[in-house]
Assembly symmetry: none
Homo-oligomer: 253 residues x 2
DNA sequence: GCATAAATTCCGAAAAATGGAATGTATTTT
DNA sequence: AAAATACATTCCATTTTTCGGAATTTATGC
């Protein structure tokens, strides 16, 4: 990736903070970006001042702040890359005949970034921007499964598994087992765990970070069980995975 | 939203481009951000050069480019730990039914890092970032109590105990006795010492440092005495302590 | 094809960023 | 408990950018 010059150098810092696995200290950032400490100090001060970055409570490390999330959402809900992604969703809906959505994880909830509805009269209408608990949705469980273990534990630790339907997973041990299975399969199912009668299938969208890759978004289809039952919905897997790769390409080009 | 200064001004431009309904022309952006055209031209050039922004096919308008998406996904997938903490506060409020806040000690004052209000019509409305004297608040006294003795003495030496209410502790000897009690209990109370009618309960959030641990932040609930009186508020202790541990976990990942 | 508006380039003046060194502060080791 | 180390922050003379009015070029609309 080409470096950021001139006025934009501190923006490279935002990328660095966003890409870090753990909140980093000034010294670490200074070293990793090869920038003198006083300069780094000033840059971080600016970002902090702007509300894009904040210090951890102990005051020694830096992490993203709320304005960064706001910026991220306004970027993603905007064209043109958004339009390209939307086209891909349209194709998926056309090919599998069911509603389809693109989601990201926000804390313990899954947020709909984009969504295309199927043409069927019977369909579930979520709207873009709405949120759903992670532990009882296909995308959500997928995110939890693919998160770095430390971060996953952090979220699981404080998670309340409230029953939504007969099938909702309400035991942590069972959820942990399910996540393990998901990691093996590479996809996640929601077997009427959030809404009775609604079944979902989700696949991950990876972003390469150096030689690592992290799951930054998920692509899922939703269908009434009456139209697509459990074994059957898996036949749509190839289409989804194909689309997921196309979506990933918009990130990794 | 506060403006972006200095080095970050072009980042404000990125926000503007992201927030625009349609790809905007240089002149539009120039006008909406109140920046001379040559300057805007240079800024857009930088962003374009960096791959954050691109021109529409006709070359006259600017829209977001792929690197912006990449950055956005990076931000969202690196869920700020601060947001995780915020969710923990939400849970606490949900469970105890009273306003709740996360504070740190800054000199002789307590600063609100984050705060979630209760749903009651009668409630105390502090805002994030506001400050309160340490000697007459639950969190503040907690910090003082748990500080290393040397540092505590330094602060206590030239602390002026100004009366805020009937109950404010205005004698140093009494404050010192109170701090000792707090160390024993592991929690601190504010019995209408800062605001008449307001009672608070605070618990420490520890960060491990080698084989030591230090109190870097505090979690507290605030309630009108009419709703939660002194012995009664202590029943909320377990919830608070549990949340404090969850919060502590977000510090060491 | 001409008038008008927008985009781009120029460049000297002005402002801001830079980073080595010094100072302050916290943490670890002896 | 004290010294040593590592880290964070401030200072400030120097250098490097940025800034934007004016001029020039290019595109648009009538």
């Amino acid at each position: 990736m080409n470096e950021l010059f001139g006025v934009l150098k501190p923006l490279g810092l935002l990328e660095a903070v966003a890409g870090a696995q753990h909140p980093a200290t000034l010294a670490e950032l200074s070293a990793s970006m090869n920038v003198p400490k006083p300069t780094m100090h000033r840059w971080l001060g600016s970002l902090e001042n702007a509300g894009l970055v904040q210090r951890t409570p102990d005051g020694r490390r830096y992490e993203l702040a709320s304005r960064a999330s706001k910026l991220a959402f306004s970027i993603l809900s905007n064209k043109p890359a958004g339009a390209i992604r939307h086209e891909i969703l349209l194709r998926v809906v056309q090919e599998v005949g069911e509603s389809c959505n693109l989601t990201v994880l926000e804390g313990t909830q899954v947020t709909y970034l984009d969504r295309v509805e199927s043409k069927w009269p019977l369909r579930i209408t979520f709207q873009q921007g709405s949120k759903v608990p992670a532990y009882c949705s296909a995308s959500g469980k997928l995110f939890l499964a693919l998160l770095p273990p430390a971060k996953r534990d952090l979220i699981l630790r404080d998670l309340k598994l409230e029953r939504q339907t007969e099938n909702t997973i309400t035991e942590k041990s069972e959820l942990i087992r399910e996540l393990k299975q998901i990691r093996q399969d590479g996809y996640a199912l929601d077997r009427e765990e959030f809404l009775a009668g609604l079944i979902c299938l989700a696949v991950p969208i990876f972003q390469k970070k150096g030689r690592l890759r992290s799951c930054v978004a998920a692509l899922a289809i939703q269908a009434p069980v009456t139209r697509l039952s459990h074994p059957e919905i898996l036949t749509k897997l190839p289409v989804l995975q194909d689309a997921a790769e196309a979506l990933a390409a918009t990130l990794n080009d």
